[in-house]
Symmetry: C2
Subunit: 583 residues, 2 copies
Amino acid sequence: MNDRDALTAYAASFVDELAQNKMKHVVVSPGSRSTPLALLLVEHPDIEVHINVDERSAAFFALGLAKALKEPVGLLCTSGTAAANFYPAVIEAYYSRVPLIVLTADRPHELRDVGAPQAIDQIHLYGRQVKWFVEMALPESTDEMMRYARTIGARAVSTAATEPAGPVHLNFPLREPLIPNLEQAKEYRQNKMTPAVMIENGALSLSDSHIEALAATLSQAKQGMIVCGELRHPKMKEAIVALAEKLAFPILADPLSQLRSGKHDKDGIIDTYDTFLRDEAAKEAFRPDVVLRFGSMPVSKPLLLFMKKQKQAITLVIDGGAGWREPAGLATNMIYCEEKDFCQRVCEKIPKATEKNWLGLWKTVNGATKNALSSIRDEVELSEGKLFSLLQDIMPIESTLFVGNSMPIRDLDTFFLSNEKGIKTFANRGANGIDGVVSTALGVSTVSENTVLAIGDLSFFHDMNGLLAAKLQKQNITILLINNDGGGIFSFLPQANDREHFETLFGTPHGLDFSHTAQLYGGKYSKVQNWDELKQVFTESFEIQGLKIIEVPTERESNLQKHRNLWNFVSQEIKVVLDREIS
Amino acid sequence: MNDRDALTAYAASFVDELAQNKMKHVVVSPGSRSTPLALLLVEHPDIEVHINVDERSAAFFALGLAKALKEPVGLLCTSGTAAANFYPAVIEAYYSRVPLIVLTADRPHELRDVGAPQAIDQIHLYGRQVKWFVEMALPESTDEMMRYARTIGARAVSTAATEPAGPVHLNFPLREPLIPNLEQAKEYRQNKMTPAVMIENGALSLSDSHIEALAATLSQAKQGMIVCGELRHPKMKEAIVALAEKLAFPILADPLSQLRSGKHDKDGIIDTYDTFLRDEAAKEAFRPDVVLRFGSMPVSKPLLLFMKKQKQAITLVIDGGAGWREPAGLATNMIYCEEKDFCQRVCEKIPKATEKNWLGLWKTVNGATKNALSSIRDEVELSEGKLFSLLQDIMPIESTLFVGNSMPIRDLDTFFLSNEKGIKTFANRGANGIDGVVSTALGVSTVSENTVLAIGDLSFFHDMNGLLAAKLQKQNITILLINNDGGGIFSFLPQANDREHFETLFGTPHGLDFSHTAQLYGGKYSKVQNWDELKQVFTESFEIQGLKIIEVPTERESNLQKHRNLWNFVSQEIKVVLDREIS
């Protein structure tokens, strides 16, 4: 076989194996060295190719697709710094356990470290931030090497998807000629070839006696609580709710837990803890003897500070991915067991709890807080808190809400409360960056209905390049652009007192008029002036195809003040309730 | 001392040591964990702080500053993916030997790998793409630890600047409180403190006998040639020109060699080799017996292909940075010696060459090629080649020209020929990425007069975020935006024959109207329709403050055809000359 035949056989076998293992989407950035893989991916009938010119945005777009689909998504670029642009999203994928298959083309060995163009050291380019790295062999078409290529393909998909899911990186040295024979490539497709190897993954599971011992511990708890951070698999919902009900434990449900919205039983769902756990009296009233944690650590800083104080509690962290998601540093038991399996099997072993005062107090305080928080609805001027409070009313049923980091996710936590709508929530909470958020949301919107992105101006700015995908692929998304002209979160931090340097280093006002951005990318743009206008434009946006940007102007200074006033008001209300309930 | 005092003493000592070692500029991206370093940098009287919100652009901006200043520039960001956004520019700095001091704030040890927010593994975050990595100690204010902080500061600047220059990375774990005492910080400044240690760097230098032996080899050459790639230090110019003259060797001068423009003697400068070395007859006529190479490998692919054939030649690669910049793979001698020192000392040891036919033939063919290339000036419609041909006429004296990768640098090579103007040329040729070019050019323009960036549309798109710095800092730059609506270079590659997938995967037309980009960033925008308009708008742009974007619309298809026609024409002209000269 000549070089081209070898390239075709080897690369087509590899690509086909990805498809056979159900990698259905790949995001491709244009490049020369990656040509053979790009052509074979676009030609494969079972793989959908999404083009994204800026590799940083491309990688976040793939991350969004993988988050929404809950399955491995591919990513391809050429050699050199192109691959380095993938790094932020690769890191986010690693820490948020999202499966990505990163394919980078590379110069062959003889062109490395000799000053050849677009040649950098791509071996372990992403360091420890990937689950698996493979420096691929040069293309060969012996049976053995084609089976090797297929096996690596199968292993890549499996490794990316296995809990804890995450990114894998395969680096392909490729020589010219770079054009495979696309007719011949069809010979290496699935209907004609058997897959290399079936990889069958078990899940972590405790023994029966282990489960029984834990069930005994839990059923003895007088003051237990469940804390749910981001949960990837919505099917976990029912199992956790059932366990909580049987134990009569409250569920402190992070906005990304998917437990705040939907038709499931929300009786024991506590959704305002981020507000009332700022209150000293409430923190004193709610000292648990057992804490059961699922998912990542929730967004709420008051909750984290509260948990760091609970040295008296038995704290069980359940993690089917066998990680160490415990920044409070007080876990007594790390339990590596698939979460749904854990809930269902423990549930079977415990009696129904009878004592409910503890749960009742949580619900009472939660109700009072919710009541107090609803006072934000009286605000006349546009404000960040009220916007998130309104979302549960104005979002469509079964829609998708992606929120930016920094202030939006915190406001979501405080103000987006239980509802029946089945709104799916997403954010990039692996490394909490403000980068790549637009593209991640666009990736999500590609496979979701009625996607809304609520994002601050700096984060929006950071990834405006991502909007090119919305323009070219005519994607539907409604962007709520909360523009306070700079870094709003810094006003909440101590540096806000340094008047001399604050605006330069932290406030960073940019004065950008984002209507130009909307025009550049062919989006419909509205800058709303009041709540009625917001509701109208927002509701109409779901009738319009394509990119819709709704700018909500707010002020950093008054936003800080409004948040502080509200928390003070809530604190007074909670005091009344606690005095009544506990005395 | 309390925690805050320790932070102040330690971080202020470190920052002051950077300043004492002449790190005069730092680019800062806003963040929380990096607060102490940001405040101390902005407060230091000898350090200028440049703010840049998007860390990817920030890092390229720092790269540009460091390129133009030829001295180490600092870079600071907060923890998490912010730091990963620096990666493309860090890699470019590593391969193009540009000194950067990358400072990243990090979570302290107890908040690592426990699911804490914005905490990723930042140890060796940039892998092998930095010269030095230091995980800093936590702040302490003992004499020993303050000296440690100062010593690391001194070593960072020195290591970044030592040949081969490059990036260093210091990672700072920092605990709250994050606000240093700025009054107290003044106590740790240079007028009051002596620097930690003076680091005195020698340069690589060969022995006299070694120089004599090499001089003997060179003076015996009948058909020698000098090849100059990118040269960082313009003072090398005279030494190389003097050596070439004494040897009667032609100098094949890359557009980034700084040898094509200026008042130096350009008699032996060959500037059209990229064109005539496409011709088989010319390649046959110019077989050297000695090749002397300085700087990185030139841009020209025809030159590289030519050099790969010269197995008969003694090829000496002179590299004061002791690297391996030899993609042709035919070096006979790698000579690690400071380049100017090498030229001057060899020059003293050789007699003036008398035989000049060899040099004469180079000059004749170069002249004929130049003549043939000038036919491009007759083109009526806007075209990419003619634009670069015109630049030597219309650029101001002593101005600065930054060119994008992919097509612009190649067109510069082909069409930007010898002139007296002293135009400095820059490009990112370490890894040749199309990313970060706008910001690198803006960094250059910060410390240069009359900076012009000539860039293609995809590369411009990739780093539009960089333009925020131009808006906020009211920077002067003229951008020639060559818009052929997609990836023009791919039309020159074999995949252009695949009509089914070409536009989707490679051409990638985006249809962006960049007038909106100009409006977003407050730039003056003109889309020129003809050459007169171009010349007028271009000339006027140097009278206008701020950002000027001049869009030059071209067509990918006709561009390819024009280049091919021109090369065919040149080939015929060369044949005539060679037939006459050699027979």
